[in-house]
């Protein structure tokens, strides 16, 4: 039996955990397990940019995963970047073992708006499924409602659904069978 592991890293409150688990399980059909591990965010901090190097954190997450892990999803609440871009919502490698998503820019607070827990949860679900989708071999999709559509603004995230479109679903099933 293989599981998708969820690994919250210094996120504080985890009121979004239960809906997140359910949605991921529904999307990919794997049961969920939670773990906690020692991940050093400090190591990934870039003083010049005052941001956290996403790839560095992801490396720690996928290091030595549990034997029964299909994928590992790390969740942080810090501002993430990769060197070429000003920021990222999250990161995953195509067909890789793990993903990373940050709550930081999904939170209304970042845009100076009143906090909205339900909206934050919804965005977190979409971005988590999106990044895990990459892990399962899916590339960006042009279907406007598909969760695999690429989002560069938080508004883009809000305008798509948290479901895979039929084509992406078929690709996922195909990839899963191959694996």
């Amino acid at each position: 039996m293989a599981y998708i592991y969820i690994l919250p890293i210094e996120t504080g409150s985890t009121y979004w955990m239960e809906p997140l688990e359910k949605s991921i399980q529904r999307a990919f059909g794997y049961p969920i397990k939670k773990i906690s591990r020692d991940i050093s965010l400090e190591k990934a901090f870039d003083i010049k940019r005052s941001q956290y190097n996403s790839s560095q954190i992801l490396l720690q997450i996928i290091h030595d995963p549990p034997k029964d892990a299909a994928k590992v999803l790390g969740i942080v609440n810090t501002d993430l970047f990769i060197p070429i871009l000003t920021f990222v919502f999250g990161e995953a490698q195509l067909k890789g073992p793990g993903s990373l998503v940050s709550l930081h820019r999904l939170n209304n607070k970042f845009y100076g708006l009143p906090e909205n827990g339900a909206l934050l949860t919804e965005r977190l679900i979409k971005e988590s499924i999106h990044e895990l989708g990459h892990n399962f071999g899916l590339v960006h999709c042009h279907d406007p409602k598909c969760v695999m559509r690429s989002s560069t603004y938080v508004e883009d995230i809000d305008s798509k659904s948290h479901d895979l479109c039929q084509r992406c679903r078929n690709t996922f099933i195909h990839e899963k069978r191959k694996a």
Partner: protein
């Protein structure tokens, strides 16, 4: 165009940038590769088609600007995007001047990045579309003979483009030497059948019995002299195109067989009983007026309708004199290369003579004249004196009497016979008519053949 049709090369000495960009583009489904410096980038550029190169401006060794110059030398249409670590606008502007599509300042906003790439891909898509269109049009001007700006020839070229995309049977009508076979070839090589052969059969050169065995093949012992089984042209044309030249010359039996073949798409070899299926498209050509042959009852009406789905009328050269200068120059270029001679053009008064002449032998005759003149020419230009074999009275062209078409044909055939010293095979080759046709003309005009008899 799918994202996977687009190949992106990332050139940066920083591994983290290479990896991040590779990952980013892979997520969008593009084909991505990276190089850590200009030299390995140039190596990769030699080995394959690339659409977009993202290059760091500051690299050890050859820098980004210089790399861009070298890339543009290899392929000026590759899209280059300059990456710079700080807002060094000057160098980036210089890069734009030298042909960069755009530049980005690292780190870049994800949304800007995705717009930039979308625009670059769109530009590339348009480029491919243009290229395809160009190749599509150029595909029909495969040879200079059937090229031309005259309205008459433009119509022919349009028709070729149109029928190439269909499976229709085509009749190409035109005088000898107008390039009917070249047109058939242009249709074939622009059709879906282009990867299979176009097999030509000149119906005018065979007796009926021989024609049948040429087309259908025969089994061993099918007739006296059939010592081996032999495949016919039809089988060789499987999945391709069968070009039947001089279709007007086939006899009654052959007309019946051909009709059956077109209707059933299968045939038997002579002396055999096995039905063979074959996948072919027929293009035929005729110098004869088939309609009057149908009216006279010498050509089957039902076969005519089967064949005459699309008609292409090739104008004789005299009806598209507008094209003569360009065709003549194209031949000069072709022969100059073949003969390794430095002839580059033709004088105006020579051109005037070419334009005044009516060219009963059409483009083929023009080609032969230019070829001979090229042999004679001493300077860079073909002069009127180089054509004295053809325009002997060129010094006093004023009183050229207007000849009838028949007289011109007669004179011309006589000239070619003199040229070939009466060699019928050669003369027929130059005139691109069957030996049979040539014999008939010789008989008709009572021409001298330089030999005691007419057996070739």
């Amino acid at each position: 165009m799918k994202p996977s049709d687009i190949a992106i090369l990332i050139v940066d000495d920083e591994a983290s940038i290479r990896n991040a960009l590779t990952q980013w583009f892979e997520m969008d489904g593009y084909r991505v590769s990276s190089a850590e410096d200009a030299n390995s980038a140039l190596m990769k550029l030699q080995n394959g088609p690339w659409d977009i190169v993202m290059l760091d401006i500051k690299m050890p060794g050859i820098d980004g600007l210089e790399l861009q110059r070298r890339i543009k030398k290899i392929d000026k249409d590759i899209i280059t995007i300059i990456m710079t670590a700080f807002a060094s606008v000057d160098t980036s502007i210089q890069g734009l001047k030298e042909g960069a599509f755009d530049y980005i300042v690292k780190p870049v906003d994800p949304d800007d990045m995705s717009h930039l790439i979308r625009n670059a891909v769109e530009q590339r898509r348009l480029y491919y579309e243009n290229l395809k269109l160009k190749q599509h049009i150029e595909g029909f001007s495969l040879s200079d003979e059937i090229n031309g700006e005259s309205p008459a020839m433009k119509k022919v070229i349009e028709k070729i483009a149109e029928v190439s995309q269909t499976e229709s049977t085509v009749i190409i009508k035109g005088e000898n030497g107008t390039g009917k076979e070249l047109i058939a070839r242009a249709i074939h090589s622009n059709s879906n059948r282009r990867y299979f052969p176009m097999v030509t059969l000149n119906c005018g050169t065979y007796s009926e019995g021989l024609l049948e065995s040429e087309l259908f093949g025969h089994e061993k012992g099918a007739f006296p002299g059939a010592l081996y089984r032999r495949q016919g042209r039809l089988e060789m044309a499987d999945k391709g195109t069968l070009f039947l030249d001089e279709i007007g010359q086939i006899g009654e039996k052959m007309q019946k067989d051909l009709l059956r073949l077109i209707e059933t798409r299968c045939f038997t070899r002579l002396g055999g009983d096995r039905e063979i299926d074959v996948n072919f498209r027929i293009i035929c050509a005729t110098t004869h007026d088939l309609e009057s042959a149908v009216q006279a009852g010498t050509f089957r009406k039902d076969l005519y309708y089967r064949l005459n789905v699309v008609t292409i009328n090739v104008p004789p050269l005299r009806e598209r004199k507008l094209d003569i200068p360009a065709i003549a120059r194209a031949f000069i270029k072709r022969f100059a290369q073949a003969m390794n001679k430095n002839v580059i053009d033709i004088t105006n008064d020579t051109l005037d003579h070419l334009l005044a002449y009516d060219w009963p032998g059409n483009v083929r005759e023009l080609r032969n004249v230019i070829e001979r003149a090229m042999v004679i020419a001493k300077g860079n230009l073909i002069e009127l004196t180089d054509l004295s074999f053809f325009f002997p009275s060129a010094q006093t062209p004023a009183d050229d009497s207007i000849l009838s078409l028949e007289e011109v044909e007669k004179n011309h055939i006589q000239k070619v016979l003199e040229l070939t010293h009466g060699n019928i095979v050669q003369a027929a080759g130059i005139l691109k008519v069957s030996r049979l046709t040539l014999y008939n003309k010789i008989k008709k005009y009572k021409l001298k053949t330089f030999k005691g008899d007419m057996e070739a």
